[in-house]
Amino acid sequence: MKLYSILIMTLVIFIGGCATPNTGYYWENYSGTLYNYKKNPNENTKQKHIKELEKIIQKAASKGSRVPPGIHAELGYMLAKQGNKSTAIEQFQKETITYPESKNFIERIYMMLGLRE
């Protein structure tokens, strides 16, 4: 039985390079709500996607894992577009704290949105 499990484990490792997340990220239904918002951009689909992004952040906090790349940035971007500038900036700052390599990208978003820290 032990040998059997080892065999399966080996196969899983071999095949599963694609499926096993080795970063510990939780994405919830990120692509689903984003797609719906893109397909039918309205207040309802927008709020659902914002909720989903917040859920991803909460999930990471409860699991003690890192928030996936771009989630704080995307939430900040959506909040900024609906006028919540201060909460948007908070999110952008969280993105650069979690991922220092995002600094230039976030700077670029500030330029586009006309935001300054």
């Binding site: 071999f14 692509s31 971007y77 230039n104 586009m112």
Partner: protein, 227 residues
């Protein structure tokens, strides 16, 4: 139990592939194992060469998840798209001529990833439905402009509805399924599969441990090697 069966089938499938040439990841992508390996990747919104306009969004919304899970910092494609629009870039095809160093300077990206959809054909024939997907991915260094990683594949994905045992009902169900199939998970699956051969990035626990992992060399590339 179902998972176990699937694993066993996977094993059989792989065992059957013995004759297909393989390479280690290190052999295939040496630049990904030294300081040329990118930390941040700018995914350029997908270039869609098909007549299926809807295919673009399926790939754009499902690409950051698998790429991030491999351990790379990935910028949200929708924001990138808006920045490009503001700069007058409406079609990613226009970006192909721009020196990649521009993206290092303006976005802090170590690499750019071009994604091209070459085929997205939905079919349903009698009681089966499927979609033929042909994709091409090229990751370029914004430092040296060299190709760091690339992958292309064509596959047929089954979208047939579960059989009810009644042929007429099945016919209708398949036609309906193909028309209303949720293609988001299908595109996600295709993207995940593409990155299966990508060396793990710095945020992955498998970073620098997957060099010896075997990957399939595409038949086209293998044929070129022989020439």
């Amino acid at each position: 139990m179902k998972n176990l069966t699937m694993i066993l089938i996977g094993g059989l499938f792989l065992a059957g592939c013995g004759s297909i040439p393989t390479q280690t990841k290190l052999e295939a992508y040496p630049a990904m194992y030294d300081d040329r390996q990118p930390l941040s990747v700018l995914v350029i919104p997908a270039i869609n060469k098909t007549t299926a306009a809807d295919a673009t969004d399926y790939f754009n919304v499902t690409i950051t998840e698998p790429l991030s899970n491999l351990g790379y910092y990935t910028m949200p494609v929708e924001i990138v798209k808006d920045i490009f629009l503001k700069e007058g870039i409406v079609d990613s095809q226009m970006i192909k001529g721009i020196p990649t160093s521009v993206f290092r300077k303006n976005f802090g990206a170590d690499a750019v990833l071009f994604v091209t959809i070459n085929a997205w054909d939905k079919n349903y024939i009698v009681i089966s439905g499927n979609v033929t997907v042909s994709m091409e991915y090229v990751m370029l260094s914004t430092d040296s402009n060299e190709i760091l990683w690339q992958y292309s594949a064509t596959q047929v994905i089954d979208t047939t509805a579960d059989s009810s045992g009644f042929i007429i009902a099945d016919l209708i169900a398949t036609a309906l399924t193909t028309a209303t199939t949720d293609y988001v998970p299908i595109a996600k699956q295709v993207n995940y599969q593409a990155f299966a051969g990508l060396p793990h990035g710095q945020y992955s626990s498998l970073h620098r441990t997957d060099m010896e992992q075997a990957i399939l060399v595409s038949l086209k590339e293998a044929a070129t090697d022989e020439n």
